[in-house]
């Protein structure tokens, strides 16, 4: 079950899109299409205007796969490859269900003309949510193939054996037919009497086995194409667009005369857009620098220091995310009471590939190659912005150079399409790093206020949690607490909170959950320390959830955790989280330089229960990526701003994690074959801030309550700031 909060779509346009089946049929007409259970209502539907509401995934299996006469299986998915490896793991799922070797499966991703509708690639949903849909499609195709083979070979289905794309008669391997032969030359429409069943996990041979990444050779040889690398016939003009100095600023005058004199430059002024175009990027840059423009600023009276008061004072109406017992009437009695506030800062996604797109107009149809997490919603945005019907816009997603939630919004694709229409030439828009920071949909700054109590035995008796601006994901605790309440004011999507933030905010890898885990797990440790209890023992005492207990004990075993109350001086810490259906416990050991406040993470152990593991190496990569990326929000990443002006413009002031920061990482994937595959791309990043905060406290007795935990904040917490 996917909660709404897992949906990381940035809603800045209509999100529906009619599945256009005509082009799909055209594309596959040379091979064979196994047609089953076609719903005519979905069949050839096409409208010029996006509908309201959200389009679901197609129910017709033909949308997901195609079996060629050459016995190759092509898998069509609306997901995109951002580096998370789903190009490989999704192909594994289909190969498994349809009983072909993984090497016989080709995969086409994120192309709105040929792939089935998809909301976007986010929320660790590719495997846990889309995976079952793809498996169902594979199972259905497999059942139809058996039916066809039974007719062809004149043998009952239960006497047939399926292996590696060949169906043969049990006991007589000479009687056989390949999938390609069955589907050869004709379109076959077949409807199953009953829903096909997917394979049980214990029958898996492809899923769960090592599989080489399909993008590997291209990525190490430089031939992998990202959106900005696409060269249409005749080339494309680089477009550089004039940007305001601050969010909320409006242009009052512009003088492009100097830029127009640069040889080969074309200047476009269209409404609020001023762009210079040139065949060479660097010459377009020079021309843009010659454009003189005046803006009227309209900055909100906030900056990165005062934002927290603003977020609390101007909070939208709260939503109760969880509650139990009696919080309002809680009588302290002999309980120890705790009250604390935790802060998180605005953070950037900072993918290495800036937002990029190339747009071409041909016969009135716009094709846009875009680095995006949401090709279908982007198609809708282009249709809306340029008033084009669905059959006149195609979005193709090549390899994406990292997203982390930041490429759910993709204004560069709309800009490239708009400029291609205006100029009649292919246009390339590749954001500069300053534009990437300026237009990022930041992880929101936020405030958590927590009141709690423990009784004499170390049992948590009260948990009153209020979170401002981070959102609901990961806000509710998972401890066994008699009296509790979780109130959520505003969310990371920014929906319905115009003016609350000085710029756009949006989903940042496990949106909200990192922030909420920082507050919750820091505060749990504050109580454990006060109770004089070991933080692992304290958690176990207050937990009933067996999956969480299992990750906690597995982490402790691998880490070699020896119980001791903080501050022990060892610099060890623990923190837990649940995200994307996955349970995770992190343990760490840090060294704190008391003179400088610099913290070095020496070791991190991650124990993760993500249900069935589809691709073990891929999962390990994701966990390592989470822990490494998490070092950034833990120690250095924070957007500095004044009003609507984003002061961080490049990596000189906005510091990303580096090689020298990275600890030894050990990952335990808990064997859970009885639990459906859950998300893997996000959970392990969730407790990173908290686990380090707890280890810093254990090392030096200083409780840092604001992310990122810069050396200055660590020193301040030690009373030396």
């Amino acid at each position: 079950m996917i909660r709404d909060d897992d949906n990381e779509l940035v809603v800045d346009g209509p999100t529906t899109f009619p599945v256009d089946r005509r082009d799909f049929l055209k594309l596959t007409s040379t091979g064979l299409l196994v047609l089953m259970a076609v719903d005519p209502a979905h069949g050839l539907q096409e409208t010029a205007r996006p509908q309201t509401g959200r389009q679901g995934a197609p129910t017709d299996v033909n949308a997901y796969l195609h079996i060629g006469a050459d016995n190759r299986v092509t898998c069509f998915v609306g997901k995109v490859e951002l580096g998370q490896g789903s190009m490989t793991s999704l192909a594994q799922l289909l190969a498994e269900e349809i009983d072909v070797p993984l090497t016989s499966v080709d995969i086409v991703m994120g192309d709105t003309d040929v792939c089935p509708w998809d909301m976007g690639t986010f929320g660790s949903l590719s495997i846990r949510s889309f995976g079952p849909i793809l498996r169902d499609a594979g199972a259905e195709a497999r059942a139809v193939l058996l039916l066809l083979a039974s007719e062809r070979l004149q043998v009952p289905i239960d006497k047939l054996v399926m292996k590696a794309g060949v169906i043969s008669v049990a006991g007589d391997a000479t009687k056989k037919v390949t999938y390609g032969q069955l589907t050869d030359g004709k379109r076959i429409e077949r409807k199953l009497e009953q829903k096909a069943t997917v394979k049980p996990v214990k029958a898996f041979t492809v899923v769960g086995s090592p599989a080489p990444r399909r993008d590997a050779i291209e990525k190490v040889t430089g031939s992998a194409k990202y959106a900005g690398d696409i060269v249409p016939p005749g080339g494309a003009l680089h477009a550089r667009i004039l940007r305001p100095p601050a969010h909320g600023a409006t242009m009052t005058s512009v003088d492009t005369s100097a830029a127009e004199k640069v040889p080969g430059v074309r200047v476009i002024k269209d409404g609020d857009m001023v762009a210079v175009l040139h065949e060479h990027r660097d010459e377009a840059d020079m021309a843009l620098a010659l454009v003189k423009a005046q803006f009227t600023r309209n900055d909100p009276p906030v900056d990165n220091a005062t934002i927290f008061d603003h977020l609390v004072k101007n909070a939208p109406k709260g939503q109760q995310a969880a509650a139990g017992g009696d919080v309002a009437g809680f009588a302290a009695g002999g309980a120890q009471m705790f009250e604390a506030t935790y802060l998180d800062s605005y953070m950037a996604h900072a993918p290495m590939e800036t937002h990029s797109a190339v747009a071409v107009v041909e016969n009135g149809k716009v094709t846009v190659w875009a680095g995006t997490q949401t090709p279908f919603p982007v198609k809708n945005q282009i249709m809306g912005a340029l008033r084009l019907p669905a059959d006149k816009v195609r979005v193709i997603t090549p390899f994406v150079g990292g997203g982390f939630g930041g490429k759910s919004a993709s204004r560069q694709a709309v800009e490239a399409a708009r400029l291609a229409l205006l100029t009649g030439k292919p246009v390339r828009v590749v954001f500069g790093r300053d534009e990437e920071f300026f237009y990022d949909t930041f992880r929101p700054a936020s405030v958590m206020k927590i009141k709690s109590a423990i009784d004499a035995a170390g049992v948590i008796s009260l948990w009153d949690y209020q979170v401002y601006a981070a959102g609901e994901r990961g806000a509710a605790h998972f401890y066994d607490i008699a009296n509790h309440r979780t109130m959520v004011y505003g969310g990371w999507s920014g929906a319905g909170t115009a003016g609350y933030h000085p710029f756009a905010i949006g989903p940042w890898r496990a949106p909200g959950a990192n922030t909420n885990a920082f507050g919750r797990e820091s505060h749990i440790d504050v109580m454990a320390a006060k109770a004089g209890m070991d933080p692992v023992a304290f958690r176990l005492k207050n937990l009933k959830d067996p999956r969480m207990i299992r990750t906690l004990t597995a982490a402790a075993k691998t880490f070699g955790w020896t119980p001791k109350a903080a501050q022990s001086g060892r610099g060890v810490g623990v923190a837990c989280g649940i995200d994307a259906g996955t349970y995770v416990t992190l343990m760490t050991e840090v060294a704190v330089d008391k003179a400088t406040g610099h913290v070095q993470v020496k070791r991190v152990v991650c124990a993760q229960d993500q249900g069935v593991v589809v691709n073990r190496e891929g999962s390990l990569q994701q966990v390592e990526g989470c822990i490494t990326m998490g070092l950034g929000y833990t120690f250095s990443e924070e957007i500095r701003f004044k009003g609507g002006e984003v002061l961080d413009k490049n990596f000189d002031t906005y510091a990303l994690p580096r090689f020298s920061w990275v600890p030894k990482i050990e990952t335990v994937l808990i064997d859970a074959p009885d639990i459906a595959a859950a998300g893997c791309g996000e959970p392990a990043i969730v407790p990173m801030g908290a686990v380090v905060a707890n280890a810093i406290y254990d090392a030096v007795g200083a409780r840092v309550t604001q992310l990122p935990m810069t050396p200055a904040r660590v020193k301040r917490a030690m009373g030396r700031g």
């Binding site: 951002l82 580096g83 998370q84 490896g85 080489p212 990444r213 993008d215 590997a216 050779i217 291209e218 990525k219 190490v220 040889t221 430089g222 031939s223 992998a224 194409k225 990202y226 900005g228 690398d229 060269v231 680089h238 065949e279 060479h280 990027r281 660097d282 010459e283 900072a350 993918p351 290495m352 590939e353 800036t354 390899f399 994406v400 150079g401 990292g402 982390f404 590749v430 500069g432 790093r433 190496e617 891929g618 990569q621 390592e624 990526g625 989470c626 822990i627 490494t628 990326m629 490049n650 990596f651 000189d652 990303l656 994690p657 580096r658 090689f659 020298s660 990275v662 990482i665």
Partner: protein
């Protein structure tokens, strides 16, 4: 405008260009070699790293006038005779990439380093690679891949 002549991935190349233009954009826009990536435009990330006379440079800040008469190696030229370089091989085997956008710069940065120091310690690799950014967090695997490649190269560049 002037004529700049250099060897590009082993091939003699001659171009008439504005000598102040940066190598990164000449490679990408004029020569169609898009394996060299734009990441920051300010020598801060390493995605545009290429070799000029066997030294790693940030091509986003390397004017064309400085490469005249020199030997340039980009990621497209590393695999020789259709055979992957041991570094490329090790990056694949160790799964030392995710989105892959920093990978060409990482591999070439490591290649230049191994030319200088064919038998580095792990700590030396970390120190040398520290000014290359990767956002996906492939760092531990990249270090292992460079170690593996160094061992496979047995002290030689190829």
């Amino acid at each position: 405008m002037r004529t700049v002549a250099f060897t590009l991935n082993g091939k003699p190349t001659r171009l008439t260009v504005d000598e102040n233009r940066m190598l990164l954009w000449v490679l990408r826009d004029d020569l169609g070699l898009t394996g060299t990536k734009f990441g920051c435009g300010a020598t801060l990330c390493g995605a545009c790293t290429v070799l000029v006379n066997n030294e790693a440079v940030r091509s986003c800040a390397t004017p064309m006038k400085t490469v005249d008469g020199k030997k340039i190696l980009t990621i497209e030229g590393l695999a020789a005779d259709g055979k992957l370089h041991p570094l490329q091989d090790a990056f694949i085997k160790q799964l030392a990439f995710q989105c892959g956008f920093c990978t060409p710069g990482m591999i070439l940065g490591a290649y230049a380093f191994l030319l200088e120091n064919p038998k580095p310690t792990r700590a030396q690799i970390v120190e040398h690679m520290d000014d290359h950014l990767c956002r996906c967090g492939a760092h531990v695997r990249i270090v292992s891949a460079v170690e593996t490649a160094a061992a496979a190269m047995k002290g030689g560049a190829r």
